[in-house]
């Protein structure tokens, strides 16, 4: 694996330069630089409060950065509303708490955005939704409501919902943290397949097995900064920073 995947020929799809974010007086992101190549899988990890979730939320502008620049697929994120909608339709996001729409069936959750944002005919959107539900392994749950599903199934629906917009980039914000242990694998399996299909992914997670298996690069965040980055091999076997070593020893010792 080429350690400098971001510069291996094609243009980066995400370019972040000196990204800062404050919540009131709290300095949450202190100058993040990151280039992500098309098809690259990035794992972001670090202690809670380190800014890793805030960072990936700035990429689809659920959080607005206040300094620096973020360019996604050639479009810079600014206050322009059309610009934001255009970027959001290119980026799928999966949340820790699933955030499915509880009043809609699984099928409607997945087909909603293509119908209302892409203006697809309903039949086409539902057909695609069924294909996606098959891809994440739960076509038989299509007519149920999210509340009737297990956590793992809900998260897979959430992945299908994000994929329904045929995004170029997928963001995962701690997708397995709210799941019971026996359900983590079914979600990770879907994510591994997605990674192998060439999707550009930014994943905030502490699932180090997943990182080792599919990540091209890993970023260790602490106190709003990137402390260290590199391939999984570099991070796991020769971490340079003491902070990284300490954190890894804490999460890997069990």
């Amino acid at each position: 694996m080429d350690p400098s995947a971001s510069t291996n020929g094609n243009d980066p799809i995400i370019v972040c330069r000196d990204v800062h974010k404050w919540f009131g007086a709290f300095h949450a992101l202190k100058g993040i630089d990151m280039d992500v190549a098309r098809g690259e899988v990035i794992v972001i990890f670090g202690p809670s409060g380190s800014g890793k979730s805030t960072f990936i939320r700035t990429i689809n502008r659920l959080e607005e950065h206040q300094q620096g620049s973020i360019v996604v697929d050639g479009i810079e994120l600014t206050h322009d509303v059309r610009n934001i909608a255009a970027i959001r339709s290119e980026i799928g996001m999966v949340f820790q708490q699933f955030n499915l729409f509880p009043h809609l069936t699984v099928l409607d959750n997945v087909s909603l955005a293509p119908v209302w944002v892409r203006k697809w005919p309903k039949d086409q959107a539902k057909k695609q939704a069924m294909e996606l539900l098959e891809r994440v392994g739960i076509p038989e749950q299509a007519d149920k409501h999210p509340g009737q599903l297990s956590g793992g199934q809900q998260q897979r629906v959430a992945i299908a919902r994000a994929l329904a917009m045929q995004p170029k980039i997928m963001l995962f914000d701690e997708p397995t943290s709210a799941l019971d242990p026996e359900m983590i694998k079914e979600v990770l399996d879907v994510m591994v397949n997605l990674a192998k299909s060439g999707m550009t992914m930014l994943v905030v997670t502490h699932e180090m097995g997943f990182a080792r298996a599919v990540a091209h690069r890993m970023f260790f965040f602490d106190e709003g900064k990137v402390v260290e980055s590199g391939t999984p091999d570099q991070i796991f076997n020769q971490p340079q920073q003491d902070r990284t070593k300490l954190f890894l020893s804490q999460i890997l010792q069990h």
């Binding site: 729409f101 944002v117 409501h145």
Partner: protein, 399 residues
Amino acid sequence: MDLSTHDQLPPAPPAFLAWVRQNLFRTWYDSLLTIVSCVVVYLALSGAIRWVFTTADWSPITQNMTLFLVGQYPRDELWRLGIAVGLVSFFLGLSWGLWSGVMRSFALTLIGFYLFLALLPGTSLAAGIRLFLGLNAGLVVLSYWLARRWPPPSNYLLAGWIVSAIVGFFLLRGHAALPALERVEINLWGGLIVTAILAIGGILISFPFGVLLALGRRSTLPVVSAFSTAFIELIRGVPLISILFLFSLIVPLFLPANMRFDRMLRALVGMIVFSAAYTAENVRGGLQAIPSGQYEAAYAIGLRNLQITLLIVLPQALRKVIPAIVGQFISLFKDTTLASGVAVLEILSIGRSVLQGNPEYIGLQAEVFVFVAAIFWIFSYSMSVSSRRIETQLGVGQS
């Protein structure tokens, strides 16, 4: 599979006698309470039943039934009201067939009410009217059957309701230019139809305004939010009766003479304004209960603000506040009686005028007010039952 050996069954519920002993006669004071309560309930119930069926003199109601139902509406023009009632029966039957749920309890209540009026002996209702009411009960059932057999599209039915409401109002009102439909001043309308128009009109028209006010109050546009907040707080800080006075006495002073509209419509506007403010606060409670993750997920798939409100937020917020809103609509229905304070002849003021205008009814107040209360109870209870129905209907799959 052998259930008896492997699976432990839940303990059987106690037999009836054991249950009685356990719950009603466990100690000496339990027994005492049980016996005393039984005696009290027996005395009250038997007294009430005896009063209703023997002592009470229902003649103020039976002899004035037409008055209670339609007020002073010209008796020669009742056929117009008949058509309007027929339209309601027809569309209610269709709605029952198509939507079931809420419409079912309303339809059943209305059928029961028609039959009660048609079959009640000794009332002033002419045989033709009784027959008409009986036929209406049949019409509800017939149109129910039609809708089951050939279900019409939902939006056609909705359009039918709106068109028939306008047609019905126009029929009742008439127009000076049409000789067959001479104008009937709204001030002559009275009784149950006025109560129904105030309640149904108030509920249906105030609801969308209430939702808009609730959204307005949470708007990020300062002018919209300030206006909505000021309106809601102003109206909620004032008793309904004073709003009704305001609309019926003061507002006409500001309007040119040819724009003055009837007492009933002024009262209706007052009720709509009042109810909209309360609906807004109830709906706002529902809006606040929507977790921010719902907005984030909706933004993340590229929906725009208006789409998020209509597709994601309102459907969830409204179903959370159904019990509160129905409770508020029930009180609005009962508050229509306050319109008697501004000389609108709804059913309670008909009752009062019947008592005041006829010396032979002296001492029969109880009968009149019990009758009016019973009418209100029947329809309020039907609303409350239907609210529970909506909750169970919409509760499916809620997480």
